[in-house]
């Protein structure tokens, strides 16, 4: 009698993701507890899940592992992104605690969905196979679609969820079709084996079209122009804490997969793709910045600004190599803390009817709440790229990589964009510091957890700005194995 032979399954490489998934399952299980149980438990479990995943990630640093027949690759690249994503997740959990209570949207599904979305992002970073890329992307996206519509009674929230879902579904189908074509061209979905096949015939039209469709799918998820149409409405309509997660974690996850797919599959291929990415980068930053200039809603402005920042990151990707890809990783790290912080300040400001999201709501903030104004001011200055804050170092590396690789004019377009961007970021500072309060008073929620999140983010942007070297080295070490 033959025994059933189980394939050997290594759960180690999945450990960080499993911690988050486990926490999500635990939150759902806790929901059956009697009503009398303290409502903070779910939030605490979520926070513990994020911190636990962070610790599990740090513990596995420099011990690469592969599991499920190379479908999951937990190398330093994935671990670096796990750190970014876990920090983003933890900050968002902290910011959500009081925000949800105030907006009356507290429910255990929220925490579970945040955890599942985070797990999807982490898995995306570790995906060594296009099928896992798709699965992880869907896990992340489906959770985020629901989260975007969390404010059931608000039209904008519903609109955001609907748009996000419809356009996201489009993107997913592009991605899936691309995967199918790549599979047809190469006979495999494993990235390493695709690379081996592609190296012998890089101009196979089926593969080129397949990869192009993959780029469309990723373009949606990282919100690069021309696939950015959903961004402003979703960022504006979704609950601010969810917007923060979409802007930081989901972008990091999608970028991780994009970088891995591009660098691994195109390893031995002449860099034809750079021209396409070049155009995408230039258009993305320019469109993002120019449209952001005209926004009067802070969330919408940050949405367009996030598009512009994707453009800067694409500049690093164009440059390629350890320097270029490494600069993108570092940029994402700085961008995550800065953006989470900026949205975090919004979650703490409210006016009579809901949130304070108009730029004019922030008039005179410096007089009413100097600490909050200073925090938002620093986040905005970091987004402008003023030293010695993290955003400056991020830009410095990205444009440095571009100059090194010979893309000087792309760097020039980038820096001119940064100068233009200064206008709309500084406009918020003008309102906060140079104008008197106007209209109905904006009030400020005092929240220990929210304050803690902002403090962590502030500390991070100052630390990354003053002492970036160790983190840059980590980022470059993380991408090095991909390029072998």
């Amino acid at each position: 009698m033959d025994t059933i032979v189980f394939p050997s399954v290594l759960f180690g490489p999945l450990a960080p993701t499993l911690v988050v998934l486990g926490a999500g399952a635990l939150v759902l299980a806790l929901d059956i507890l009697p009503r009398a149980a303290p409502r903070e438990i779910a939030a605490m479990v979520a926070l513990a899940g994020m911190v636990g995943a962070l610790l599990a990630t740090v513990a596995r640093w420099s011990t690469p592992g592969r599991a499920f027949r190379d479908m999951v690759v937990l190398d330093n690249f994935a671990l670096f992104f796990n750190v970014v994503i876990c920090y983003a997740g933890a900050l968002i959990v902290l910011l959500s605690m009081d925000y949800l209570r105030r907006t009356g949207a507290e429910s255990s599904e929220y925490w579970a969905l945040v955890l599942f979305a985070t797990a999807g992002m982490m898995l995306l970073a570790a995906a060594g196979d296009l099928v896992v890329v798709f699965l992880a992307l869907e896990l992340m996206s489906l959770s985020l679609y629901v989260l975007a519509g969390l404010f059931k009674r608000e039209l904008a929230s519903g609109e955001a969820a609907m748009k996000y879902f419809l356009l996201g579904a489009f993107a997913s189908s592009f991605l899936l079709y691309g995967i199918a074509l790549v599979y047809g061209a190469t006979g495999t979905t494993n990235l390493d084996r695709i690379a081996a096949v592609v190296a012998s015939r890089p101009r196979d039209p089926l593969f080129v079209i397949g990869l192009g469709l993959l780029m469309v799918g990723f373009g949606f998820k990282i919100s690069s122009v021309p696939f950015h149409m959903w961004v402003p409405d979703v960022y504006q309509g979704a609950p601010t804490s969810v917007t923060a997660l979409i802007a930081t974690g989901s972008k990091a996850g999608a970028f991780a997969a994009l970088i891995r797919v591009l660098t691994v599959t195109l390893r031995g291929v002449p860099p034809d793709w750079a021209a396409l990415l070049w155009a995408m980068a230039a258009v993305t930053m320019t469109v993002g910045n120019v449209v952001a200039l005209a926004q009067s809603n802070l969330k919408r402005m940050l949405a367009y600004s996030s598009i512009a920042h994707v453009g800067y990151m694409l500049v690093g990707l164009v440059a390629g190599g350890v320097g270029g890809a490494g600069s993108v990783l570092f940029y994402l790290l700085t961008y995550t803390f800065t953006t989470a912080g900026a949205f975090g300040v919004i979650t703490l400001c409210e006016r009579a009817r809901g949130e304070a999201v108009e730029v004019s709501d922030y008039a005179g903030l410096a007089r009413r709440h100097p600490v909050l104004a200073a925090a938002l001011g620093l986040f905005l200055l970091s987004l402008v790229g003023i030293p010695p804050l993290a955003g400056f170092v991020g830009k410095f590396y990205v444009f440095g990589a571009a100059v090194r690789a010979g893309y000087v004019w792309l760097a020039v377009i980038g820096v001119l964009n940064s100068a233009a961007a200064a206008y709309y970021y500084l406009r918020i500072i003008v309102y906060m510091y140079m104008r008197e309060p106007e209209g109905a008073a904006t009030t400020y929620a005092s929240s220990f957890a929210g304050g803690l999140a902002l403090a962590i983010a502030l500390l991070a942007i100052v630390l990354l700005g003053v002492m970036p070297a160790p983190f840059v080295d980590l980022a470059q070490a993380a991408v090095a194995p991909l390029l072998r």
Binding site: I386, F399, V412, V415, A422, A469, V472
Partner: protein, 499 residues
């Protein structure tokens, strides 16, 4: 060994940050504490002057510390004959600017003094940095406090002026960032050593050509906007007029010098071929600036605006001196940077004093002030004459030297520029005459109070220095001559290397 340069650089900024955390009930100590910090900074900077060996070539009081070794970024600071005077100018003007604001700034005092002190650290950092990365950090970081000084405490049109100031400067400095990166990678590719260290980079002889020209232009645009060189000057009148008096003093006294300093420190030694090639263009723009600034000053009805446009003219002279690329011109240009800081700083201070009394800066609103406030009028006369370059006062020394240099380079241009001095006499003296001489034309001016003790304390040091430089310029030129000689020798040896 005390790291003197670092102490001088960071003391004001740290004091400013500390003051931000002062509790509200201790608001009374804000002004004294801020002033004390600025004065102590000045006193600490004096040993730099006295300990500076004028015979030595190269940097002194150097400090070197690891910062980001993998990237070739280090914390490297020091002073030479060029930066020494500008450091002293900065530490000298800041206490005066703060003292002048003591009574006039009443809103958000804590934020004001903190911003000013942080600004001082930024400016000093620009002058002492010997690492391009470090320099760029200070260069950019310094923008933000100035933005706040104009935007929060400025006049009615302050927000427009503040945003314009930042955007203009940002465009230039962003392109400079690309040029810095290009230089870094070119040097790295050529020598195998990637570094931002300025002394190392200046040793590198770059081949003339398109790359050098583009890098030169990247740096030069940033500096030209800051100077400001015609036609990049349009932010200046807005910023100067809208800024509070203390802000104008610092803006004119120190910030503009960062542009001319940049040309001396970076453009000439790093890109000598391009500097020579573009020299005639810069020369021409400088002369246009000299004459244009003077003409526009002449027709200004507002004293502050008049002084602002006169800066365009004076800085044109400085640029003229720098791009003569000879000893007299460069020393004259450098001394003229200090002179302009003192004279124009003092002019802004005095216009501010008169504005506090009458809440008007229009020349037409005054007349016959000598009968009412003679002490003010007398000091105003000294400062006015210094600004137009009367022999015996500081302005003459600088202008004489740099015009001497300019005549050797291009006599026609120099002759044109000299007319700027004549126009300077026209606009300054005409303004002075309308404001101070004649009968008292407005009743509101009859009861004006003369200088207070605090105002005496602010003005006497400046006037003393104005006279000192005018009578004994060697005390200052002597510190710079060796450095300038070395700079010229370096430019010459580099440009002749590929002939």
């Amino acid at each position: 060994m005390i790291p003197l340069v670092s102490v001088v650089t960071f003391l004001p900024g740290l004091a400013g940050l500390a003051l931000l955390f002062l509790p509200r009930r201790a608001a009374g100590v804000l002004w004294p504490a801020a002033l004390a910090a600025a004065v102590v900074t000045f006193l600490l900077s004096l040993p730099l002057y006295f300990g500076f060996d004028a015979e030595l070539i190269g940097y002194q009081f150097e400090e070197h510390a690891r910062w980001m070794p993998t990237l070739g970024v280090s914390y490297h600071v020091g002073v030479d004959g060029i930066s020494l005077l500008l450091v002293l100018l900065t530490t000298f003007l800041m206490p005066l600017a703060l003292a002048s604001a003591w009574d006039s700034i009443e809103d958000r005092v804590k934020e004001f003094v903190a911003t000013m002190l942080i600004l001082e650290t930024g400016m000093l950092g620009v002058f002492v940095s010997l690492d391009l990365f470090l320099f760029y950090v200070f260069w950019e970081a310094m923008l933000i406090p100035m933005y706040f000084v104009i935007g929060v405490w400025g006049g009615p049109n302050r927000i427009y002026a503040a945003v314009k100031f930042v955007l203009y400067t940002m465009v230039g400095s962003m392109l400079m960032l690309v040029a810095i990166l290009a230089l870094y990678y070119q040097y790295g590719a050529a020598t195998g050593r990637y570094t931002f260290d300025l002394p190392l980079l200046t040793q590198y002889v770059m081949a003339p050509g398109r790359a050098q020209s583009l890098m030169f232009l990247g740096f030069a645009l940033a500096f030209a906007i800051k100077v400001p060189l015609f036609p990049f000057h349009t932010w200046l009148p807005d910023a100067h007029v809208e800024a509070p008096t203390a802000g104008s003093v610092i803006l004119a006294g120190v910030l503009l010098k960062m542009g001319t300093y940049g040309f001396l420190r970076f453009c000439l030694p790093l890109f000598p071929d391009a500097a020579l090639a573009y020299g005639p263009l810069v020369f021409t723009l400088a002369v246009i600036g000299v004459i244009y600034g003077a003409w526009v000053s002449t027709v200004q009805p507002d004293m502050k605006k008049l002084v602002a446009y006169s800066s365009v003219s004076h800085l044109g002279f400085v640029m003229l001196g720098i791009f003569t690329l000879n000893q007299q011109g460069l020393v004259g240009g450098l001394i003229q940077m200090v002179n302009h800081g003192l004279s124009t700083g003092a002019l802004f201070l005095m216009v501010g004093m008169i504005y506090e009394r009458r809440h008007s800066r229009l020349i037409a609103d005054f007349g016959g002030l000598w009968q009412v406030i003679p002490a003010f009028s007398a000091l105003f006369l000294v400062v006015t004459l210094s600004s137009l370059g009367l022999p015996g006062l500081n302005g003459f020394v600088g202008e004489f030297l740099l015009l001497l240099g300019a005549f050797q380079r291009n006599p026609w241009m120099a002759a044109l520029a000299t007319t700027g001095i004549i126009f300077a006499a026209v606009y300054m003296l005409w303004m002075y005459q309308r404001v101070v001489f004649g009968e008292v034309t407005r009743d509101a001016n009859r009861r004006l109070a003369d200088l207070t003790t605090r105002e005496w304390a602010v003005l006497v040091p400046v006037v003393a220095l104005i006279v000192w430089i005018g009578v004994y310029p060697a005390a200052f030129t002597g510190k710079t001559e060796t450095t300038i000689e070395a700079l010229i020798a370096q430019v010459q040896s580099k440009t002749s290397a590929h002939r």
